[in-house]
Protein backbone atom coordinates (compact mmCIF):
# COMPACT_ATOMS: atom_id res chain seq x y z
CA UNK A 1 0.00 0.00 0.00
CA UNK A 2 2.74 2.44 0.95
CA UNK A 3 5.20 1.32 -1.67
CA UNK A 4 7.42 3.85 -3.31
CA UNK A 5 8.21 5.61 -0.05
CA UNK A 6 11.93 5.88 -0.71
CA UNK A 7 11.38 6.89 -4.30
CA UNK A 8 9.13 9.70 -3.11
CA UNK A 9 11.59 10.77 -0.41
CA UNK A 10 14.50 10.77 -2.82
CA UNK A 11 12.55 12.75 -5.40
CA UNK A 12 11.32 15.26 -2.85
CA UNK A 13 14.58 15.84 -1.04
CA UNK A 14 17.16 15.82 -3.80
CA UNK A 15 16.61 19.40 -4.98
CA UNK A 16 16.38 21.17 -1.59
CA UNK A 17 19.32 19.24 -0.16
CA UNK A 18 21.48 19.91 -3.20
CA UNK A 19 20.62 23.59 -3.06
CA UNK A 20 21.38 23.74 0.64
CA UNK A 21 24.59 21.77 0.25
CA UNK A 22 25.93 23.86 -2.62
CA UNK A 23 24.97 27.36 -1.49
CA UNK A 24 24.87 27.14 2.31
CA UNK A 25 26.73 24.19 3.75
CA UNK A 26 29.74 24.12 1.44
CA UNK A 27 30.48 27.87 1.74
CA UNK A 28 30.29 27.63 5.53
CA UNK A 29 32.72 24.73 5.56
CA UNK A 30 35.05 26.30 2.98
CA UNK A 31 35.20 29.49 5.06
CA UNK A 32 36.91 27.59 7.88
CA UNK A 33 39.50 26.25 5.43
CA UNK A 34 40.10 29.57 3.69
CA UNK A 35 40.57 31.31 7.02
CA UNK A 36 43.94 29.56 7.37
CA UNK A 37 45.24 30.67 3.97
CA UNK A 38 46.42 33.86 2.33
CA UNK A 39 44.29 33.28 -0.75
CA UNK A 40 43.86 36.34 -2.97
CA UNK A 41 41.39 34.86 -5.45
CA UNK A 42 43.80 34.40 -8.36
CA UNK A 43 46.48 31.94 -7.28
CA UNK A 44 45.50 28.32 -7.96
CA UNK A 45 46.75 26.97 -4.68
CA UNK A 46 45.84 28.83 -1.50
CA UNK A 47 48.91 28.86 0.74
CA UNK A 48 48.39 27.88 4.36
CA UNK A 49 49.38 30.50 6.91
CA UNK A 50 48.28 28.62 10.02
CA UNK A 51 46.79 30.93 12.60
CA UNK A 52 48.51 33.92 11.00
CA UNK A 53 45.28 35.59 9.90
CA UNK A 54 43.83 35.33 13.38
CA UNK A 55 46.97 36.78 14.94
CA UNK A 56 46.74 39.66 12.50
CA UNK A 57 43.18 40.42 13.55
CA UNK A 58 44.45 41.48 16.96
CA UNK A 59 46.70 44.13 15.42
CA UNK A 60 44.23 45.34 12.82
CA UNK A 61 43.00 48.75 13.95
CA UNK A 62 39.99 48.59 11.62
CA UNK A 63 38.88 45.20 12.87
CA UNK A 64 39.35 46.32 16.46
CA UNK A 65 37.34 49.47 15.75
CA UNK A 66 34.61 47.26 14.29
CA UNK A 67 34.74 44.99 17.30
CA UNK A 68 34.49 47.93 19.66
CA UNK A 69 31.59 49.52 17.80
CA UNK A 70 29.68 46.26 17.47
CA UNK A 71 30.32 45.74 21.17
CA UNK A 72 28.79 49.11 22.02
CA UNK A 73 25.81 48.33 19.80
CA UNK A 74 25.45 45.03 21.60
CA UNK A 75 25.25 46.82 24.94
CA UNK A 76 22.98 49.68 23.88
CA UNK A 77 20.61 48.51 21.16
CA UNK A 78 19.00 45.36 22.63
CA UNK A 79 18.51 46.99 26.02
CA UNK A 80 16.98 50.16 24.58
CA UNK A 81 14.73 48.23 22.20
CA UNK A 82 13.46 45.86 24.87
CA UNK A 83 12.82 48.56 27.46
CA UNK A 84 11.03 50.78 24.93
CA UNK A 85 9.07 47.90 23.46
CA UNK A 86 7.96 46.63 26.87
CA UNK A 87 6.84 50.10 27.91
CA UNK A 88 4.99 50.70 24.66
CA UNK A 89 3.45 47.23 24.65
CA UNK A 90 2.17 47.66 28.20
CA UNK A 91 0.86 51.10 27.26
CA UNK A 92 -1.02 49.90 24.19
CA UNK A 93 -3.16 47.42 26.15
CA UNK A 94 -6.65 48.16 24.85
CA UNK A 95 -5.65 50.60 22.10
CA UNK A 96 -4.58 48.51 19.14
CA UNK A 97 -4.26 51.26 16.54
CA UNK A 98 -0.84 52.26 17.90
CA UNK A 99 0.57 48.81 17.27
CA UNK A 100 -0.42 49.00 13.62
CA UNK A 101 1.54 52.23 13.25
CA UNK A 102 4.54 51.13 15.32
CA UNK A 103 5.04 48.18 13.02
CA UNK A 104 5.67 50.30 9.88
CA UNK A 105 9.49 50.34 10.02
CA UNK A 106 9.57 46.55 10.17
CA UNK A 107 8.25 46.48 6.60
CA UNK A 108 10.98 48.62 5.11
CA UNK A 109 14.10 46.94 3.86
CA UNK A 110 17.20 47.93 5.77
CA UNK A 111 18.67 49.65 2.72
CA UNK A 112 15.56 51.80 2.37
CA UNK A 113 15.72 52.68 6.06
CA UNK A 114 19.35 53.67 5.63
CA UNK A 115 18.60 55.94 2.67
CA UNK A 116 15.62 57.51 4.47
CA UNK A 117 17.64 58.27 7.59
CA UNK A 118 20.56 59.56 5.64
CA UNK A 119 18.14 62.26 4.49
CA UNK A 120 16.82 62.81 8.00
CA UNK A 121 20.37 63.45 9.25
CA UNK A 122 21.54 65.58 6.31
CA UNK A 123 23.09 68.77 7.78
CA UNK A 124 21.44 71.54 5.77
CA UNK A 125 18.26 70.14 4.34
CA UNK A 126 17.55 67.20 6.63
CA UNK A 127 14.43 66.63 8.68
CA UNK A 128 16.18 66.58 12.03
CA UNK A 129 18.02 69.88 11.73
CA UNK A 130 14.98 71.42 10.06
CA UNK A 131 12.83 70.35 12.99
CA UNK A 132 15.34 71.68 15.51
CA UNK A 133 15.36 75.07 13.79
CA UNK A 134 11.58 75.10 13.59
CA UNK A 135 11.32 74.84 17.39
CA UNK A 136 14.06 77.42 17.96
CA UNK A 137 16.86 75.02 18.90
CA UNK A 138 19.27 76.23 16.23
CA UNK A 139 22.23 75.67 18.50
CA UNK A 140 21.45 71.94 18.59
CA UNK A 141 21.89 71.52 14.85
CA UNK A 142 24.66 69.04 14.04
CA UNK A 143 26.15 67.27 11.09
CA UNK A 144 25.02 64.07 12.71
CA UNK A 145 26.84 61.52 10.59
CA UNK A 146 30.04 63.50 10.17
CA UNK A 147 30.88 64.02 13.85
CA UNK A 148 32.96 61.11 15.18
CA UNK A 149 31.28 61.39 18.57
CA UNK A 150 27.76 61.38 17.19
CA UNK A 151 27.88 59.14 14.12
CA UNK A 152 27.68 55.78 15.86
CA UNK A 153 24.90 56.96 18.16
CA UNK A 154 23.00 58.26 15.15
CA UNK A 155 23.29 54.84 13.53
CA UNK A 156 22.22 53.09 16.73
CA UNK A 157 19.17 55.37 16.96
CA UNK A 158 18.13 54.11 13.53
CA UNK A 159 18.60 50.49 14.61
CA UNK A 160 16.41 51.13 17.62
CA UNK A 161 13.84 53.05 15.57
CA UNK A 162 13.50 50.22 13.10
CA UNK A 163 13.26 47.33 15.56
CA UNK A 164 11.04 48.58 18.37
CA UNK A 165 7.76 48.05 16.47
CA UNK A 166 8.26 44.36 15.94
CA UNK A 167 8.95 43.76 19.62
CA UNK A 168 5.95 45.85 20.66
CA UNK A 169 3.81 43.48 18.62
CA UNK A 170 5.65 40.43 19.93
CA UNK A 171 5.43 41.46 23.58
CA UNK A 172 1.86 42.66 23.40
CA UNK A 173 0.83 39.34 21.85
CA UNK A 174 2.47 37.61 24.81
CA UNK A 175 0.89 40.02 27.29
CA UNK A 176 -2.55 39.30 25.91
CA UNK A 177 -2.19 35.71 27.04
CA UNK A 178 -1.85 36.87 30.65
CA UNK A 179 -5.36 36.51 32.13
CA UNK A 180 -6.97 39.70 33.36
CA UNK A 181 -8.12 38.17 36.65
CA UNK A 182 -4.53 37.67 37.82
CA UNK A 183 -3.84 41.36 37.21
CA UNK A 184 -7.08 42.36 38.90
CA UNK A 185 -6.37 40.17 41.90
CA UNK A 186 -2.96 41.80 42.25
CA UNK A 187 -4.48 45.26 41.93
CA UNK A 188 -7.02 44.43 44.64
CA UNK A 189 -4.18 43.27 46.85
CA UNK A 190 -2.81 46.78 46.53
CA UNK A 191 -0.05 46.31 43.96
CA UNK A 192 0.67 49.38 41.84
CA UNK A 193 1.07 49.16 38.07
CA UNK A 194 4.86 48.98 38.35
CA UNK A 195 4.73 46.11 40.83
CA UNK A 196 2.17 44.26 38.73
CA UNK A 197 4.41 44.64 35.70
CA UNK A 198 7.57 43.56 37.51
CA UNK A 199 6.13 40.72 39.53
CA UNK A 200 3.44 39.35 37.24
CA UNK A 201 3.55 40.47 33.62
CA UNK A 202 7.29 40.32 33.09
CA UNK A 203 7.85 36.82 34.53
CA UNK A 204 4.94 35.49 32.50
CA UNK A 205 6.23 36.84 29.19
CA UNK A 206 9.90 36.26 29.96
CA UNK A 207 10.29 33.66 27.24
CA UNK A 208 9.47 36.19 24.51
CA UNK A 209 11.82 38.71 26.09
CA UNK A 210 14.57 36.11 26.01
CA UNK A 211 13.91 35.30 22.36
CA UNK A 212 13.94 39.02 21.58
CA UNK A 213 17.19 39.54 23.44
CA UNK A 214 18.96 36.86 21.42
CA UNK A 215 17.63 38.09 18.06
CA UNK A 216 18.67 41.65 18.90
CA UNK A 217 22.07 40.58 20.20
CA UNK A 218 22.80 38.79 16.94
CA UNK A 219 21.49 41.72 14.90
CA UNK A 220 23.77 44.08 16.84
CA UNK A 221 26.77 42.23 15.41
CA UNK A 222 25.69 43.24 11.91
CA UNK A 223 24.94 46.87 11.06
CA UNK A 224 26.53 46.44 7.63
CA UNK A 225 23.82 48.00 5.48
CA UNK A 226 23.17 51.01 7.72
CA UNK A 227 26.83 51.88 8.05
CA UNK A 228 27.71 51.17 4.44
CA UNK A 229 24.92 53.36 3.07
CA UNK A 230 24.54 56.07 5.69
CA UNK A 231 27.93 57.04 6.94
CA UNK A 232 30.72 58.79 5.14
CA UNK A 233 33.75 56.82 4.20
CA UNK A 234 32.06 54.32 4.61
CA UNK A 235 33.05 53.41 8.12
CA UNK A 236 32.38 56.87 9.44
CA UNK A 237 34.65 59.75 10.42
CA UNK A 238 37.76 58.31 12.13
CA UNK A 239 36.28 54.82 11.69
CA UNK A 240 33.75 55.80 14.33
CA UNK A 241 31.03 53.66 12.75
CA UNK A 242 33.19 50.85 11.39
CA UNK A 243 31.56 47.45 11.94
CA UNK A 244 33.07 43.99 11.54
CA UNK A 245 30.82 43.07 8.61
CA UNK A 246 31.91 46.13 6.67
CA UNK A 247 35.55 45.32 7.36
CA UNK A 248 35.04 41.81 6.05
CA UNK A 249 33.28 43.05 2.93
CA UNK A 250 35.99 45.59 2.18
CA UNK A 251 38.85 43.17 2.87
CA UNK A 252 37.35 40.62 0.50
CA UNK A 253 35.74 42.53 -2.32
CA UNK A 254 37.80 45.72 -2.41
CA UNK A 255 41.24 44.43 -1.47
CA UNK A 256 40.86 40.81 -2.61
CA UNK A 257 42.28 39.39 0.60
CA UNK A 258 39.89 36.47 0.69
CA UNK A 259 41.78 34.35 3.18
CA UNK A 260 42.01 37.16 5.69
CA UNK A 261 38.34 38.08 5.16
CA UNK A 262 37.36 34.47 5.85
CA UNK A 263 39.26 34.63 9.14
CA UNK A 264 37.12 37.66 10.01
CA UNK A 265 34.05 35.60 9.13
CA UNK A 266 35.19 32.83 11.47
CA UNK A 267 35.78 35.38 14.23
CA UNK A 268 32.29 36.84 13.69
CA UNK A 269 30.84 33.33 13.79
CA UNK A 270 32.43 32.49 17.14
CA UNK A 271 31.39 35.85 18.57
CA UNK A 272 27.80 35.31 17.45
CA UNK A 273 27.76 31.84 18.89
CA UNK A 274 29.23 32.91 22.24
CA UNK A 275 26.79 35.78 22.51
CA UNK A 276 23.81 33.53 21.81
CA UNK A 277 24.98 31.05 24.44
CA UNK A 278 25.82 33.80 26.92
CA UNK A 279 22.46 35.50 26.49
CA UNK A 280 20.67 32.18 26.91
CA UNK A 281 22.48 31.68 30.22
CA UNK A 282 22.18 35.23 31.51
CA UNK A 283 18.49 35.52 30.71
CA UNK A 284 17.70 32.09 32.05
CA UNK A 285 14.97 32.07 34.66
CA UNK A 286 12.65 29.63 36.28
CA UNK A 287 9.95 28.95 33.76
CA UNK A 288 6.64 30.31 35.00
CA UNK A 289 3.58 28.37 33.96
CA UNK A 290 0.06 29.70 33.94
CA UNK A 291 -2.07 27.36 36.01
Amino acid sequence: MRHGKYRFLAGALIVPLTLYGVFVLSPYLQAFQLAFTDWNGVSDQPRSVGFGNFARLWDDPLFLAGLRNNGLMLLVVPLAVIVLALALAAGTRGTKVYRVVYFFPQLLSVAIIAVLWQFVYTPNSGLLNGALSAVGLDSWRQSWLAEPDLALWSVMAVMIWSSVGFYVVLFSAAMESVPDDIMEAAAIDGAGPVTVFRRITLPLIWESVQVGWIYLGIAALDGFALVQIMTVGPGGPDNSTEVMGLGLYRTAFTFGKFGYASAMGVAIFFLTLSIAVLLLRVTKRERVELA
Binding site: P16, F104, L116, L127
Partner: protein, 269 residues
Protein backbone atom coordinates in the same frame (compact mmCIF):
# COMPACT_ATOMS: atom_id res chain seq x y z
CA UNK B 1 -3.07 58.33 31.92
CA UNK B 2 -2.13 61.63 30.30
CA UNK B 3 1.59 60.90 30.26
CA UNK B 4 0.94 57.39 28.98
CA UNK B 5 -0.88 58.69 25.93
CA UNK B 6 1.68 61.42 25.38
CA UNK B 7 4.37 58.74 25.32
CA UNK B 8 2.44 56.49 22.93
CA UNK B 9 1.69 59.40 20.61
CA UNK B 10 5.29 60.54 20.68
CA UNK B 11 6.52 57.18 19.43
CA UNK B 12 3.80 57.08 16.78
CA UNK B 13 5.01 60.50 15.60
CA UNK B 14 8.64 59.36 15.60
CA UNK B 15 7.72 56.40 13.42
CA UNK B 16 5.50 58.21 10.94
CA UNK B 17 7.16 61.61 10.63
CA UNK B 18 10.22 60.52 8.62
CA UNK B 19 7.94 58.65 6.23
CA UNK B 20 5.51 61.54 5.81
CA UNK B 21 8.42 63.93 5.38
CA UNK B 22 9.89 61.75 2.61
CA UNK B 23 6.47 61.62 0.95
CA UNK B 24 6.18 65.41 1.11
CA UNK B 25 9.72 65.92 -0.16
CA UNK B 26 9.02 63.70 -3.15
CA UNK B 27 6.67 66.42 -4.45
CA UNK B 28 9.09 69.33 -3.97
CA UNK B 29 11.72 70.89 -6.17
CA UNK B 30 15.37 70.50 -5.25
CA UNK B 31 15.53 74.16 -4.32
CA UNK B 32 12.59 73.80 -1.97
CA UNK B 33 14.16 70.76 -0.34
CA UNK B 34 17.40 72.64 0.28
CA UNK B 35 15.94 75.95 1.40
CA UNK B 36 13.11 74.80 3.65
CA UNK B 37 13.19 71.09 4.42
CA UNK B 38 10.30 71.46 6.80
CA UNK B 39 7.61 73.16 4.68
CA UNK B 40 5.21 71.71 2.09
CA UNK B 41 5.81 72.30 -1.64
CA UNK B 42 4.34 75.39 -3.32
CA UNK B 43 2.94 73.22 -6.08
CA UNK B 44 3.23 69.42 -6.03
CA UNK B 45 5.76 68.23 -8.63
CA UNK B 46 4.67 64.90 -10.05
CA UNK B 47 7.50 64.88 -12.56
CA UNK B 48 9.86 63.78 -9.75
CA UNK B 49 8.05 60.48 -9.73
CA UNK B 50 8.22 59.89 -13.46
CA UNK B 51 11.89 60.90 -13.47
CA UNK B 52 12.64 58.43 -10.68
CA UNK B 53 10.68 55.69 -12.41
CA UNK B 54 12.36 56.09 -15.77
CA UNK B 55 15.65 57.94 -15.59
CA UNK B 56 16.72 56.63 -12.20
CA UNK B 57 15.55 53.12 -13.21
CA UNK B 58 13.40 52.63 -10.11
CA UNK B 59 10.83 50.91 -12.33
CA UNK B 60 13.47 48.47 -13.55
CA UNK B 61 14.72 47.83 -10.01
CA UNK B 62 11.19 47.17 -8.82
CA UNK B 63 10.66 44.69 -11.63
CA UNK B 64 13.97 42.95 -10.82
CA UNK B 65 12.98 42.75 -7.17
CA UNK B 66 9.59 41.28 -8.02
CA UNK B 67 11.20 38.64 -10.25
CA UNK B 68 13.87 37.67 -7.74
CA UNK B 69 11.76 37.82 -4.58
CA UNK B 70 8.75 36.22 -6.29
CA UNK B 71 10.83 33.39 -7.73
CA UNK B 72 12.72 32.79 -4.51
CA UNK B 73 9.53 32.87 -2.44
CA UNK B 74 7.77 30.31 -4.64
CA UNK B 75 10.83 28.05 -4.65
CA UNK B 76 11.37 28.39 -0.89
CA UNK B 77 7.77 27.58 -0.07
CA UNK B 78 7.62 24.53 -2.36
CA UNK B 79 10.98 23.06 -1.32
CA UNK B 80 10.62 24.07 2.33
CA UNK B 81 7.19 22.46 2.63
CA UNK B 82 8.33 19.29 0.86
CA UNK B 83 11.43 18.96 3.01
CA UNK B 84 9.62 19.71 6.26
CA UNK B 85 6.88 17.25 5.37
CA UNK B 86 9.28 14.42 4.53
CA UNK B 87 11.32 14.98 7.69
CA UNK B 88 8.27 15.36 9.92
CA UNK B 89 6.16 12.47 8.72
CA UNK B 90 8.47 9.77 7.38
CA UNK B 91 10.79 7.54 9.35
CA UNK B 92 14.02 6.81 7.55
CA UNK B 93 17.66 6.39 8.50
CA UNK B 94 19.41 9.75 8.70
CA UNK B 95 16.21 11.71 9.24
CA UNK B 96 17.39 13.41 12.45
CA UNK B 97 20.81 14.04 10.99
CA UNK B 98 19.36 15.81 7.94
CA UNK B 99 17.01 17.85 10.10
CA UNK B 100 19.75 19.14 12.39
CA UNK B 101 22.11 19.78 9.49
CA UNK B 102 19.43 21.93 7.89
CA UNK B 103 18.54 23.75 11.11
CA UNK B 104 22.23 24.49 11.74
CA UNK B 105 22.03 26.89 8.79
CA UNK B 106 20.03 29.26 11.00
CA UNK B 107 22.83 29.56 13.54
CA UNK B 108 25.58 30.67 11.21
CA UNK B 109 25.96 34.35 10.30
CA UNK B 110 25.87 34.96 6.54
CA UNK B 111 29.14 36.89 6.84
CA UNK B 112 30.91 33.60 7.47
CA UNK B 113 29.76 32.17 4.13
CA UNK B 114 30.19 35.35 2.12
CA UNK B 115 33.61 34.84 0.53
CA UNK B 116 33.25 31.18 -0.50
CA UNK B 117 29.66 31.82 -1.59
CA UNK B 118 30.84 34.48 -4.00
CA UNK B 119 33.20 31.98 -5.64
CA UNK B 120 30.63 29.18 -5.69
CA UNK B 121 28.18 31.44 -7.52
CA UNK B 122 30.94 32.78 -9.75
CA UNK B 123 32.12 29.29 -10.71
CA UNK B 124 28.57 28.34 -11.64
CA UNK B 125 28.46 31.40 -13.90
CA UNK B 126 25.54 32.81 -11.92
CA UNK B 127 26.90 36.16 -10.73
CA UNK B 128 24.47 38.93 -11.55
CA UNK B 129 21.75 36.64 -12.88
CA UNK B 130 18.15 36.33 -11.77
CA UNK B 131 18.33 32.56 -11.36
CA UNK B 132 21.56 32.81 -9.35
CA UNK B 133 19.98 35.19 -6.86
CA UNK B 134 16.77 33.15 -6.72
CA UNK B 135 18.62 29.93 -5.92
CA UNK B 136 20.82 31.57 -3.27
CA UNK B 137 17.89 33.38 -1.63
CA UNK B 138 15.91 30.15 -1.54
CA UNK B 139 18.82 28.15 -0.11
CA UNK B 140 19.28 30.64 2.73
CA UNK B 141 15.55 30.85 3.48
CA UNK B 142 15.25 27.06 3.60
CA UNK B 143 16.44 26.39 7.19
CA UNK B 144 13.91 28.68 8.86
CA UNK B 145 11.11 27.48 6.59
CA UNK B 146 11.83 23.84 7.35
CA UNK B 147 12.17 24.54 11.06
CA UNK B 148 8.84 26.35 11.18
CA UNK B 149 6.84 23.96 9.00
CA UNK B 150 8.34 20.82 10.59
CA UNK B 151 6.44 21.52 13.78
CA UNK B 152 3.36 22.29 11.77
CA UNK B 153 3.34 19.06 9.77
CA UNK B 154 4.01 17.09 12.95
CA UNK B 155 0.91 18.46 14.58
CA UNK B 156 -1.42 17.55 11.69
CA UNK B 157 -3.62 14.48 12.30
CA UNK B 158 -2.40 11.33 10.56
CA UNK B 159 -5.84 9.75 10.11
CA UNK B 160 -6.70 11.86 7.07
CA UNK B 161 -3.49 10.86 5.34
CA UNK B 162 -4.13 7.18 6.18
CA UNK B 163 -7.57 7.41 4.64
CA UNK B 164 -6.15 8.96 1.48
CA UNK B 165 -3.56 6.17 1.21
CA UNK B 166 -6.32 3.56 1.52
CA UNK B 167 -8.19 5.31 -1.27
CA UNK B 168 -5.12 4.70 -3.40
CA UNK B 169 -3.43 8.11 -3.32
CA UNK B 170 0.29 8.22 -4.02
CA UNK B 171 2.81 9.76 -1.62
CA UNK B 172 2.99 12.90 -3.71
CA UNK B 173 -0.79 12.94 -4.00
CA UNK B 174 -1.20 12.82 -0.23
CA UNK B 175 1.26 15.66 0.18
CA UNK B 176 -0.15 18.00 -2.44
CA UNK B 177 -3.85 17.25 -2.09
CA UNK B 178 -4.25 16.47 1.60
CA UNK B 179 -1.40 17.63 3.82
CA UNK B 180 -0.41 20.85 2.08
CA UNK B 181 -3.95 22.30 2.15
CA UNK B 182 -4.22 21.39 5.84
CA UNK B 183 -0.95 23.21 6.56
CA UNK B 184 -2.25 26.42 5.01
CA UNK B 185 -2.17 28.62 8.12
CA UNK B 186 1.45 27.68 8.71
CA UNK B 187 2.29 28.27 5.07
CA UNK B 188 0.77 31.75 5.22
CA UNK B 189 2.75 32.69 8.34
CA UNK B 190 6.05 31.44 7.04
CA UNK B 191 5.29 32.91 3.61
CA UNK B 192 4.90 36.40 5.10
CA UNK B 193 8.06 35.96 7.13
CA UNK B 194 9.99 34.85 4.08
CA UNK B 195 8.61 37.60 1.89
CA UNK B 196 9.77 40.29 4.30
CA UNK B 197 13.10 38.55 4.79
CA UNK B 198 13.78 38.23 1.06
CA UNK B 199 12.53 41.74 0.33
CA UNK B 200 14.90 42.95 3.03
CA UNK B 201 18.02 41.38 1.50
CA UNK B 202 20.88 43.75 0.94
CA UNK B 203 24.13 41.94 1.68
CA UNK B 204 23.56 39.01 -0.69
CA UNK B 205 22.65 41.08 -3.76
CA UNK B 206 25.41 43.55 -2.93
CA UNK B 207 27.95 40.74 -3.23
CA UNK B 208 26.36 38.44 -5.81
CA UNK B 209 24.61 40.88 -8.12
CA UNK B 210 27.16 43.31 -9.59
CA UNK B 211 25.23 43.91 -12.83
CA UNK B 212 23.44 47.30 -12.62
CA UNK B 213 20.73 46.12 -15.01
CA UNK B 214 19.79 43.42 -12.53
CA UNK B 215 19.96 45.52 -9.36
CA UNK B 216 17.21 44.92 -6.84
CA UNK B 217 15.42 47.90 -5.33
CA UNK B 218 17.49 48.05 -2.15
CA UNK B 219 20.71 48.01 -4.14
CA UNK B 220 19.54 50.52 -6.72
CA UNK B 221 18.34 53.00 -4.12
CA UNK B 222 21.49 52.70 -2.06
CA UNK B 223 23.57 53.22 -5.18
CA UNK B 224 21.56 56.32 -6.11
CA UNK B 225 21.81 57.71 -2.61
CA UNK B 226 25.57 57.24 -2.55
CA UNK B 227 26.12 58.75 -6.00
CA UNK B 228 23.68 61.57 -5.28
CA UNK B 229 26.60 63.53 -3.87
CA UNK B 230 28.02 63.83 -7.38
CA UNK B 231 24.91 64.18 -9.48
CA UNK B 232 22.24 65.56 -7.26
CA UNK B 233 18.62 64.87 -7.95
CA UNK B 234 17.24 64.89 -4.45
CA UNK B 235 13.61 65.22 -5.32
CA UNK B 236 13.88 62.28 -7.71
CA UNK B 237 15.59 60.23 -5.05
CA UNK B 238 12.82 60.98 -2.56
CA UNK B 239 10.28 59.93 -5.16
CA UNK B 240 12.21 56.69 -5.71
CA UNK B 241 12.28 56.07 -1.99
CA UNK B 242 8.52 56.46 -1.75
CA UNK B 243 7.98 54.18 -4.76
CA UNK B 244 10.05 51.56 -2.95
CA UNK B 245 8.17 51.95 0.32
CA UNK B 246 4.63 52.25 -0.96
CA UNK B 247 3.79 48.72 -2.21
CA UNK B 248 4.67 46.97 1.05
CA UNK B 249 3.12 49.67 3.19
CA UNK B 250 -0.17 49.45 1.27
CA UNK B 251 -0.15 45.65 1.48
CA UNK B 252 0.39 45.98 5.21
CA UNK B 253 -2.49 48.40 5.69
CA UNK B 254 -4.82 45.89 4.01
CA UNK B 255 -3.45 42.71 5.60
CA UNK B 256 -2.01 44.04 8.84
CA UNK B 257 -3.86 41.59 11.06
CA UNK B 258 -2.56 38.51 9.22
CA UNK B 259 0.92 39.93 8.82
CA UNK B 260 1.41 40.69 12.49
CA UNK B 261 -0.20 37.43 13.58
CA UNK B 262 1.98 35.48 11.16
CA UNK B 263 5.16 37.17 12.27
CA UNK B 264 4.59 36.81 15.99
CA UNK B 265 3.57 33.16 15.73
CA UNK B 266 6.80 32.56 13.83
CA UNK B 267 8.96 34.35 16.34
CA UNK B 268 7.42 32.63 19.33
CA UNK B 269 7.77 29.13 17.91
Amino acid sequence: MRTKHAFLTLWAALVTLPLLWALMSSFKTDAEIFDSPWTPPATPRFDNWSRAWEQASIGQYLLNTLIVVGGALALTMLLGALTAYCLARYEFPGNRFLYYTLIAGMLFPVFLALVPLFFVVDNLGMLGTYHGLILVYAAYALPFTVFFLHGFFRSLPGAVAEAAFIDGASHAGVFFRVMLPMARPGMVSVGIFNFLGLWNQYLLPKVLNPDPDHYVLAQGLAELAVSQGYRSDWSGLFAGLIIAILPVLLAYVFFQRQIRAGLTSGALK
